[in-house]
Symmetry: C2
Subunit: 120 residues, 2 copies
């Protein structure tokens, strides 16, 4: 059985933006922490929904037809197949929940594609 | 596509203890908020892990061989089939993540078994 996980302690262990770190697995799902700043790229995940939970700071998710703004203590479920572009004016700390094996850039691989399954 | 979800706003909509409220679905998983106070019952979930994320306050999870104490900003994954008993000396606000259809008391049905799939 695992240990308890403290988000702040885990966030202090890395500084790169847009590079999710896995902190826990539940069945075949992973919980990942990510620090974001600036604009990500447009992408979607064809086979899965994706959950964003803001732990600290503010972020937004741009969709083709609207924007959603999120603050600490707020979450959003991006449905499978829906194009989205996360962004943050200043550093924002986020908890992601999604199935194991999902790339951060979905079907839009590029220089922001992070190594997958990196644990801290 | 859904709306953003604010944990504090959702917590203000109910007051019963040990009665999880569903706030979101991701694929076949649900995110549930629960307020806890006092001691729950011993139970396990034979077929799934279960995630506890503390949003506000402090709680503990007793296992047959140890206890884990959790504060706001901490999470724990209870593995499938492991008996556990959550408790909180004072009110604690928790986010649960688990597959749709999981009963709060697992295989130990009783007077603390809450109605399932109640959305707020």
């Amino acid at each position: 059985m695992g240990k308890k996980i403290n988000f702040n302690e885990k966030f202090s262990m890395f500084s790169e933006y847009w590079a999710p770190r896995v902190i826990a697995e539940m069945n075949d799902y992973q919980f990942k922490l990510v620090k974001i700043s600036g604009e990500f790229i447009w992408h979607d995940h064809k086979k899965t929904d994706e959950v964003f939970i803001v732990i600290e700071g503010k972020m937004g998710i741009e969709f083709r037809d609207r924007k959603v703004e999120l603050s600490a203590g707020e979450m959003f479920v991006v449905p499978r197949g829906v194009e989205h572009k996360p962004y943050a004016a200043e550093e924002c700390k986020v908890l992601l929940v999604e199935p194991k094996g999902i790339k951060n850039t979905g079907d839009s691989e590029g220089n922001l594609t992070a190594e997958n399954d990196v644990w801290i």
